[in-house]
């Protein structure tokens, strides 16, 4: 029997999430007394709460605690992803300060709403990382998704933003329905929502195998939508292209990371190898990375190219899902840890790349095609260098953490006997070099046209975010060992 009511012991492990939610409510309270006047204060409060949540996540590291009757669990795994999600949120919150004022002057009054929606979505994503019950997982996922729909459509007078928001919402609602239906079938088959109880019921053999397989497959589909895996990706290019670019950075990084956390935890804890869904994961992984790369290669728009590149990266991370679910002879904790580290690095470099687009395309209004980036590298060397770091690191060259994280990801696959999956990933990375270097060619090699826009304004916050992301990406190349060790240790604890 579950005890009703909760104690202080339940609240402490969830301090990071509570800090984020509390500050969001505080900003709403301030805003309701002085409508639209305190946008900058809201950003400051949000930044402070993200910093506090970040510190709390680091302070909690090493503890393992259950909260609220085991529906939430705070362990190394969830805290690792808290850190990754909070890094992305911090970059997005800080850069929004310049971005929103310049690009959406009419939206500057709504800066508070924007920040509050960001914080609610962040809290939902962090709760997804700690959920260990289908009930809390579903609620957390919706808490992350609903503000994201509103944020994608945030530029209310911009047709692309509205179109992206509509597509994201309709397909997102559809995927929620699939997810909830899948949850209902899993519940019917096993009689439990708790991941551990589901695994116990499966181990006891007291389940309807057909209902369980269908249910877990529908849950997989719902989460595949979240991480934008092909063929559940149709919303992603339009939503990322239409959304305000800072939001595109947020949704394509943080939301994807959160979807993967849930995928990892669900399919390690609740559905162990008895449910034979490894083929689904392999197919999703291969199709996703191949399609993402080929579609990215033919784009004219840098932003849309990045949207497809983020789909391709979901394919790489799915390699980890395929490997640990196959229960092959190799070290599946290492493979899972590699997937986790790759997501952390990916979050930084992908956010950074989108923020460069936010600067060039939206802030300066230079345009969105590759040609519009001509000569920008020499005019803004710091941003040009940062973009070079992001692009080459996304492609997997040793300018940043992307090189080592991809290396360990493929090494984990080879270790577990999936050498051909690693090979496919390697071929795809080589292909991706084509479109990533295309940006750099236009930025550094081509001459700027005579009539290029003025680049004299220096948005400090946006610059700072881009440079921070670049420095962190490079630093992860040299300081990758502690990251992969922490991730592998967390994965081992999860797989026990």
């Amino acid at each position: 029997m579950v005890e009703l009511g909760f104690q202080q012991a339940d609240l402490l492990p969830l301090a990071p999430e509570i800090a984020i939610l509390g500050s969001a409510l505080l900003i709403l309270l301030i805003d309701s007394f002085s409508r639209g006047k305190h946008g900058k204060a809201a950003v400051a409060i949000a930044a402070a709460s993200v910093a506090a949540a970040f510190a709390a996540s680091l302070a909690l590291y090493g503890t393992t605690a259950e909260a609220f009757g085991g529906t939430f669990v705070v362990d190394g795994f969830s805290l690792f992803f808290n850190v990754a999600i909070l890094l992305v949120t911090a970059l997005v919150v800080v850069s929004s300060l310049d971005y929103l004022e310049e690009f959406y002057p009419e939206g500057a009054d709504e800066l508070t709403e924007y920040v509050v929606l960001l914080l609610f979505a962040t809290a939902g994503m962090m709760l997804m990382a700690s959920s260990r019950s289908l009930v809390t997982a579903f609620i957390a996922l919706e808490l992350a998704a609903l503000p994201s729909y509103a944020l994608v459509a945030f530029a209310k007078r911009n047709r692309a933003s509205i179109e992206g928001g509509m597509k994201y919402f309709v397909l997102g609602a559809l995927s929620s329905a699939f997810l909830l239906y899948g949850i209902s079938l899993v519940y019917g088959a096993t009689g439990a929502f708790d991941f551990v109880a589901i695994a116990d019921a499966i181990a006891a053999g007291d389940v309807e195998p057909g209902v369980l397989s269908l249910g877990s497959l529908l849950v997989l589909f719902g989460l595949a939508f979240k991480v934008a895996a092909v063929p559940f990706h149709v919303w992603a290019p339009d939503a990322y292209t239409g959304a305000p670019t800072t939001i595109a950075a947020f949704v394509s990084s943080a939301s994807k990371i959160a979807g993967f956390v849930l995928l990892f935890r669900l399919f390690t804890t609740a559905f162990p190898a008895e449910v034979d869904w490894v083929y689904a994961a392999i197919v999703l992984s291969v199709v996703t990375m191949t399609y993402g790369n080929f579609a990215a290669a033919v784009q004219d728009s840098v932003k849309r190219m990045l949207a497809y590149s983020s789909i391709a990266h979901a394919g790489y991370a799915l390699i980890a899902v395929a490997v640990f679910s196959a229960e092959a002879t190799g070290d599946s904790a290492f493979a899972l840890g590699a997937g986790m580290s790759h997501l952390l690095v990916y979050g930084l470099m992908n956010t950074g790349a989108f923020l460069v687009v936010a600067l060039v395309d939206d802030y300066y209004g230079a345009g969105y095609t590759f040609e519009d980036y001509a000569g920008l590298g020499r005019k803004m060397p710091a941003v040009g260098l940062a973009m070079a770091v992001f692009m080459l690191s996304l492609a997997g060259l040793p300018t940043g953490g992307g090189f080592v994280s991809k290396l360990v990801l493929f090494a984990g696959a080879v270790n577990s006997g999936f050498w051909w999956l690693a090979l496919l990933g390697g071929v795809n990375s080589a292909l991706s070099l084509y479109y990533y270097t295309r940006v750099l060619k236009w930025m550094w090699v081509e001459e700027a046209p005579e009539d290029q826009v003025e680049l004299d304004r220096k948005p400090l916050a946006l610059y700072a975010s881009i440079l921070f992301a670049a420095v962190a990406t490079v630093a992860l190349l040299f300081a990758f060992a502690p990251v992969i060790e922490t991730a592998t240790a967390a994965a081992e604890a999860l797989l026990e």
Binding site: L134, V135, F138, I139, E142, L146, Y149, A150, A153, K156, R159, A160, I162, E163, G164, G165, M166, K167, F169, V170, A173, L174, S176, A177, F178, L180, Y181, I183, S184, L185, Y187, G188, G191, F193, P237, D238, T241, G242, A295, V298, Q299, R304
Partner: protein
């Protein structure tokens, strides 16, 4: 007592009707109603299983799911109002500025 398989069949039917509507309709509001139908099919399933298993957790999830569905409608209708302002209709096939 009605055996749970009856409820499962009924809910599968409702889910299929909802899915059919989502795939064939062009009006965004009707699509939203069809999605609600699919969500309620899942809710019906959960309630039936909860009653059958004598477990109260399922019924609690349904309460949350209903609240979430209401929030989803609020966000969705907000977005549809923006679509209506721009395009004068809520036909989901009309906004097609982004194609490759």
């Amino acid at each position: 007592m009605v055996p749970p398989s009856y409820y499962v069949l009924l809910s599968a039917l409702i889910f299929a009707i909802g899915l059919y509507g989502v795939l064939t309709r062009r009006n965004a509001v009707v699509i939203l109603m069809c999605v609600e139908l699919m969500l309620n099919a899942a809710n019906l399933n959960i309630v039936a299983f909860a009653a059958y298993l004598g477990d109260v957790t399922g019924q609690i999830l349904v309460l949350f799911a209903l609240a979430i569905a209401a929030a989803e409608v609020a966000v969705g209708l907000g977005i549809f109002i923006l679509v209506y302002r721009e395009y004068g209709t809520v036909d989901v096939t009309l906004p097609r500025g982004m194609r490759w």
